[in-house]
């Protein structure tokens, strides 16, 4: 449905550029289609940035006022032979302190007098990007030089401009840096914070925003608060690392979890929380790997089907076989719950016991979810769950109560946390009660909070997620609002429709839509402004400023990127902690990517060519792969000459658990297939619809071919490279069954996010 809005923009004169390894329905309606080799986005984007820097096409006013362009980077900052300063070969890790600014006596970054000062971030940027000429970029990406130049001119000449991206950018071992490359480009063009700008993640899952906000992620607590590590035993250790600004929200959360038990004297029960080991990775890949090693005993999965959707499926299968107990809650039977029934596998050799719990579908339960633009919306229901199915909310509540009951007579120290946890939810209107807990209360008055500004650091407020403070403002569930008429901005903000975090703000960084004086850059399409009369930031949107009454002549009035300690956009992601003079600790220590302060191009782990920029550093230097050598072989281009890119399709969703049980979606697309270019079809002597065997270093499957013009062979560093593509939505259960593409894909992951490189691995294709 996002495409509807792209089309509407196009009708109003916007230019649409589509970058994809494969020509699709989106390419068809675009003004410019760019065919790119999977995994080379940084090389492409960096050439555009280089063109902008070289020809002075950036928005000078914007970068001086709203970014760190003028800040001085410390003298030791360098980039050499594929790595930045601070790199340890042995640990494959950076010490990010090496990327700091030069600081003054008060610990604030020193600013230069001119952009051209050799020590500025801007000069550092120019220095770094100059290697990315059009020719180098073309050799790496396979995109003709003229096309790169044409796209560069289009983005420069059509401002404001926005970027929409999805998993095609993130499923790489350089996923975070791909997005950083967008960040640098958009900051240089002044394309952040104004209407029609930004970098927009089109997230592929209904509530992936909410499930990350609420931290079903090993490394966070709800609201993106860093999960406590073993070496931070006390709250003060946590605060020293992550800043007093965030510590306030952690205390607020601990009060919601431990109620009266949490006091200032006992560190608000911080000590009771389990501590993860700082040096370990607890991502989903490690779940299956530790299960394979028989260290994981019990696994509970709700609404996910990794036996289809995870990469390198043989590891998943072996992991599931190594468990004592597996619990799966889902609507339909999944390949994960019935992994022991996988064709070719003997159930009598699998010791895992499995429970399948029938879950209510989204239409059969109430609750809220958050979309890609952080808009929290309420789902009603009007039907009962199918059969005896229960909502996950009820299942979790019942299960926790049963577990707590089993511990009721224990006096062991390890069980103290279970007893101290406040957990008491009603049977009726449970979701609303939980949302109120999430919103938070003022414990003195008992009133629901109206916004983040009311949260206190002294334990007098309690709430489950600081970002959601205000969703229940005025004792009303604002996620239920439906005002689709009122939009004073004329820009489609509709402030009375549902509710967005934080504080119903629709456009993040909207302070950057105004100049240093708080005057909108575009008076016709304005979001917010400084009102001299009332001495306040005002707007059609909620102003994204630290304090609404701190004007442009105060430091707070110049912080369009206030979640960074320095308050401005980072062209180079310099590490920085804003000093807190009151508490003698960091006020705000915002994080930087683990694998570099600027996006450098590295080849995918399995690549058809060598890294021309630095042959000795072929892949992301922070990547640790294989983790288990016997299960994670790396294929070579000699044995596996073709690049495989995989994705979902618009007719099926993710593992297909639901969509493969819908007959008419199965009629639209009924099985796994491989799309190959005509040239390869001729070479292999296969025709459209004939079967081929596709093999990677990890597995092989047989599928039908689809021969198209939509993929073309590419010229990469003077060699011909062929890209093939497959959808991954199938498995052996449901109404439509077919081979699982993920038997082939690689489970090497980005060092920041552990997202796997399912967009680029190597395969061989043979006629059967």
């Amino acid at each position: 449905m996002s495409m509807k809005w792209v089309m509407r923009a196009k009708e109003k004169g916007a230019k649409v550029i589509h970058v994809d390894p494969r020509y699709t329905r989106t390419s068809k309606i675009s003004d410019k289609y760019v065919q790119i080799r999977p995994g080379t986005d940084i090389a492409f984007l960096n050439a555009i940035v280089q063109y902008i820097l070289e020809n002075d096409l950036y928005d000078k006013t914007f970068i001086i006022s709203h970014t760190n362009a003028m800040y001085k980077t410390n003298k030791n900052f360098e980039f050499n032979e594929g790595v930045f300063s601070g790199y340890s070969d042995e640990e494959r890790k950076y010490n990010t302190d090496f990327w700091a600014y030069e600081l003054d006596a008060e610990g604030k970054p020193v600013k230069a007098d001119s952009l051209d000062d050799p020590q500025t971030v801007f000069s550092g940027l120019k220095d770094f990007y100059k290697r990315y000429t059009m020719e180098v970029s073309s050799g790496i990406t396979g995109i003709p030089v003229e096309t790169i130049k044409e796209v560069a001119d289009m983005v420069v000449n059509n401002r404001p401009g926005t970027i929409m991206y999805a998993l095609g950018m993130t499923q790489h071992t350089v996923g975070v840096q791909n997005i950083r490359a967008f960040g640098v480009l958009q900051l240089l063009l002044g394309n952040i914070g104004r209407p029609g700008t930004g970098i927009n993640a089109l997230r592929g899952e209904p509530n992936v925003q909410g499930s990350t906000d609420f931290a079903l992620l090993f490394n966070y607590l709800p609201g993106y608060l860093s999960y406590p590590n073993h070496n931070k035993p006390k709250l003060e250790n946590w605060t020293a690392s992550y800043g007093s600004f965030r510590a306030k929200f952690l205390i607020h959360l601990l009060k919601a979890w431990f109620g009266d038990e949490a006091t200032a004297e006992n560190d608000f029960c911080y000590g009771l929380l389990p501590k993860k080991n700082a040096n370990e990775n607890y991502s989903i890949y490690r779940i299956f790997e530790t299960a394979m090693e028989k260290k994981m005993k019990f696994l509970y999965i709700m609404g996910q089907n990794p036996m289809v959707s995870s990469p390198n499926l043989s590891v998943v299968h072996e992991g599931l076989s190594g468990l004592d107990t597996l619990v799966v809650a889902d609507l339909f039977m999944t390949e994960t719950a019935s992994f022991w029934e996988k064709p070719g596998c003997d159930p009598s050799t699998i010791d895992t016991e499995v429970f399948f719990l029938p879950a209510a579908s989204f239409l059969e339960k109430e609750g809220s979810l958050s979309n890609s633009s952080r808009m929290v919306q309420w789902r009603y229901t009007g039907i009962d769950p199918v059969g005896e199915a229960k909502s996950d909310l009820d299942m979790i509540d019942l299960l926790f109560n049963k577990i707590r009951d089993l511990y009721k007579d224990s006096s062991e120290a390890k069980d103290e946390i279970i007893k101290k946890l406040s957990w008491n939810y009603p049977t009726e209107k449970k979701a609303e009660a939980v949302l109120r807990e999430i919103n938070g209360y003022n414990l003195k008055t008992g009133e629901l909070l109206n916004g983040i500004g009311e949260i206190q650091a002294d334990g007098s407020t309690a709430g489950g997620n600081w970002l959601y403070a205000g969703v229940y403002a005025g004792n009303e569930n604002l996620s239920k609002r439906k005002d689709n008429k009122t939009d004073p901005s004329g820009l489609g903000l509709f402030p009375g429709f549902a509710w967005s975090w934080p504080g119903n703000m629709r456009v993040l960084y909207n302070r950057a839509s105004c100049d240093v004086n708080g005057v909108p850059y575009d008076d016709e399409k304005k979001l917010i402004w400084w009102d001299e009369q009332t001495k306040k930031w005002m707007g059609y949107d909620v102003p994204d400023v630290p304090v609404a009454t701190d004007g442009p002549d105060t430091p707070n009035g110049q912080k369009p990127f206030r979640m960074n300690g320095e308050g401005v956009g980072r062209l180079i992601a310099n590490s920085y902690s804003d000093p807190d003079y009151v508490n003698q600790t960091a006020r705000d220590a915002s994080s930087v990517p683990a694998d570099g302060p600027l996006p450098e191009f590295y080849e995918p782990v399995e690549s058809p060519t060598s890294n021309v920029l630095h042959p000795k550093v072929q892949i992301n230097p922070c990547l640790k792969y294989p983790r288990i050598e016997s299960k994670q072989p790396i294929g070579t281009k000699e044995e596996f000459p073709y690049v495989l890119c995989t994705s979902s399709i618009s007719e099926h969703w993710c593992a297909g658990t639901v969509t493969r049980n819908v007959p008419w979606l199965n009629e639209l697309v009924k099985e796994t297939y491989i799309e190959i270019p005509e040239k390869l079809a001729t070479k292999l002597n296969v025709k459209n619809g004939e079967k081929v065997k596709v093999r990677s270093a990890r597995g092989e499957i047989e599928v039908k071919t689809m021969v198209t013009h939509r993929l073309q062979t590419l010229n990469i560093n003077n060699e011909e490279v062929t890209v093939v593509w497959m959808p991954y939505n199938w498995g052996f259960k449901g109404l439509s069954t077919a081979a699982s593409t993920n038997l082939l894909t690689i489970d090497a992951g980005d060092p920041n996010t552990w997202i796997q490189e399912t967009k680029a691995c190597l395969v061989d294709v043979q006629k059967v």
């Binding site: 449905m1 509807k4 592929g204 509530n207 909410g210 079903l216 992620l217 709800p222 979890w257 009771l272 929380l273 501590k275 993860k276 607890y282 779940i287 005993k297 019990f298 696994l299 509970y300 709700m302 996910q304 990794p306 107990t325 619990v327 609507l331 039977m333 010791d351 016991e353 399948f356 719990l357 029938p358 989204f362 979810l369 958050s370 890609s372 633009s373 919306q377 789902r379 009007g382 039907i383 005896e388 199915a389 229960k390 909502s391 909310l393 979790i396 926790f400 049963k402 390890k414 279970i418 946890l421 489950g464 439906k482 689709n484 618009s650 007719e651 639901v658 969509t659 049980n661 979606l665």
Partner: protein
Amino acid sequence: MNMNRRNFLKTAGLTGVALALADLGFNTKKIEASTKEFKLSGANEYTSICTFCSCGCGMVCHVKDNKLINLEGDPDHIMNEGGLCSKGSAMSVVPNSEERIPTPLYRAPRSNKWQEISWDDALNRIAEKFKKARDENWIEKEIDNGEEYVVNRTDAIGIVGGAQNNNEECYLMAKMARALGVVFLEHQARL
């Protein structure tokens, strides 16, 4: 005439389909729309949000006798303005599908079949297994660089939530997991 489709349907219901349609100049669609009106008359209505991507498209659902009889894009929704993609528009199948699993199932070690069990039995046994895995694999302390730290966790239990869950479910799952010492807490943000 400024009237959105949802109000149109409501008005149509009140004033008589033919009249409303003629009013709006929709004569050609008359038969189609009146069949639909007939099908929806007396049905209860509720709204939901699609469950297949993060656009968050609005849906209107119609229910008769506790059965979902119609589902369509919510014309009053600011995101989709009545439209749904191929996946969203197919969702009326979900609560009506015979493939849905109605009861809890259990597969014993080495067995080649599922057997039905009651909720109570299932949850009691799951709770016991959880406790066993937790108690037998508890890590109270850890030594790093010669220093001892209290860590209070178990590495033998994993919980994987989903982006299919509502916010309240994710929140409770995170709260429960942490309270029980679980650090292997994950979901499908990466897919």
